[in-house]
Symmetry: C2
Subunit: 225 residues, 2 copies
Amino acid sequence: MTISKTNRLSLVEQVVSQIESLIESGEWEIGNQIPPEMDLIKQFDVSRNTLREAVRSLVYAGLLVTKQGKGTFVRSSSVLGVAIQRRIQQSGILETLEVRHALEREAAQLAAIRRDKDDIEQLRTHIATCHDAAEAKDSQAYEEADIQLHKAIIEASHNSLLIDLYEHMADSLHASIHQIVEMSSDANLHLNIHCSLVDAIIEQDEERAVETVNEYIAQFKKSLI
Amino acid sequence: MTISKTNRLSLVEQVVSQIESLIESGEWEIGNQIPPEMDLIKQFDVSRNTLREAVRSLVYAGLLVTKQGKGTFVRSSSVLGVAIQRRIQQSGILETLEVRHALEREAAQLAAIRRDKDDIEQLRTHIATCHDAAEAKDSQAYEEADIQLHKAIIEASHNSLLIDLYEHMADSLHASIHQIVEMSSDANLHLNIHCSLVDAIIEQDEERAVETVNEYIAQFKKSLI
DNA sequence: GGTTATTTGTTCGTATGTATC
DNA sequence: AGATACATACGAACAAATAAC
C-alpha cells in the first residue's frame, strides 16, 4: 500500500488547474478579457478569496494580468516566458549571448538534419527579405527580418522544447540584439554569414551549419568587447 | 513631468517582492519554516487575505510550500526550476536530451577557456570518484558521481545563466539519466569519454572538448533508439 | 462634467481541517 | 483525549480605478 503524497488538492490548486487548462486549450485566448470574479465564483463554486488566490498565482506566473476597474486578461499561455525573462534580467549580455549560442548551435545542427520543404521555403523567404532590407539600407526592417530568419532556423530543428526556450529568450533579447546590430561593423558580412548558414541547412551540411553559427556568434562577442 | 506607467504596486505585489528578497538574500533559508501567517501580517502590516495571496503566488511559482497544520517552508530560491520542470514534463526524452546537448556543448567549450585551479581540482576529484565507482561496479554510486562531474563541468563555464538552466534541467532529468545509464552498453567506454572530456578542458583544448561532448551525446541518442 | 455601475483591491470576522504535543 | 498552533475556506463590507451614460 503506497501512501499518496497529497491526498487532496486544495481548492485553490483545483481552480488554478482549471484556469490553466482553459488558457492552454485556447478557450481563453491571449489578450482577451476573462469573465469577472463574480462570474468565476459561480462557475467554479468557490468563495471570492479562494478564486482570488488562484488568479493571483497565475498573475505572478505571467499567464494573467489584472487591471483594477477594467478586468483580468490573458497574457501568455506558458509559464516559461516570464520565468526566463526574470532570470535573464539578472544576467549580463555576454552570459545571455553564450546561452543563445548554445541554443542556436544545436538548432542549426538539428535543422540541417530535419528541415523539410516548408522549412526551406520559410528560410528562402526570410533571407530574401533580409537581402532586400540590406539593399534598401533600412536597418529597422533588416533587424525584424533577421529575427524572423532566426526563428525560422530554430523552428526547422523540430524540437519544441528548444523552440520554446529560444522564443522566450529572444523576447528578452530584442533590445540587446538591436544594440549589437547597431554596433555591427559590416552589414554585408553579417548578411553573408546568414546566407551561408541557410545554405548549409538546406544542403544538410551539419558541420558547416555549426561552424557558421560559431563564426557568427564569435563576431558578436568581438563587438561586445 | 514624467508619466509613471504603474506608479503604484499593489499591496500583494509589494509583499511578494519583499518575500522574494528575503529568500534570495538567504535570510529565509531553503528548507526552513517561515514565520506563521499572523506574524507576517503584523510584520508587513497587511490583512490576512493579502498576505495569503502573496504566499499563494510564491507557492505556485515553487519558491514556497505550505503544509496545513504545520506551516510554510522555503522550497527553492529561483522561479526557473519549477517553470522548466513543468515544460519538460510535456516533452519527450529525445527533445530534452538535445537541449541538454546544447547546454553541455557550450559549457564544455567555455569551461576549456575559463577553468581555474578550483575547477580543475573539482574535475579531478569527481572523475576519480567515477573511476572508483566503476571499479567497484556500484552503479548507483557511479550515477551519482556522473551527475556531480557534469555539474562541475558546467560550473567551470563560469556562466551563471547556463549553470542555472542546466541545474534546473538536470533536476528533472535524473530519472531519464538513470534510465539511459542502465541501458548504456559499455560502462568503460562511458568512463573513457568522460576522462577525455575532463582532459580536454584541463588542457584548454576547446575543439576536443566540444567533440567529446558530441560523441558522448551521440552515444546516448543511439541507446534511445 | 458629474453620476452611476462594473470590476478589482483590501480588510475584518468566523468557522473548519490538520498536525503536534 | 484535549489543547495548541497553523493553514484552509467562506462571507460580508468598503475602497479605488475605470467605463458608460
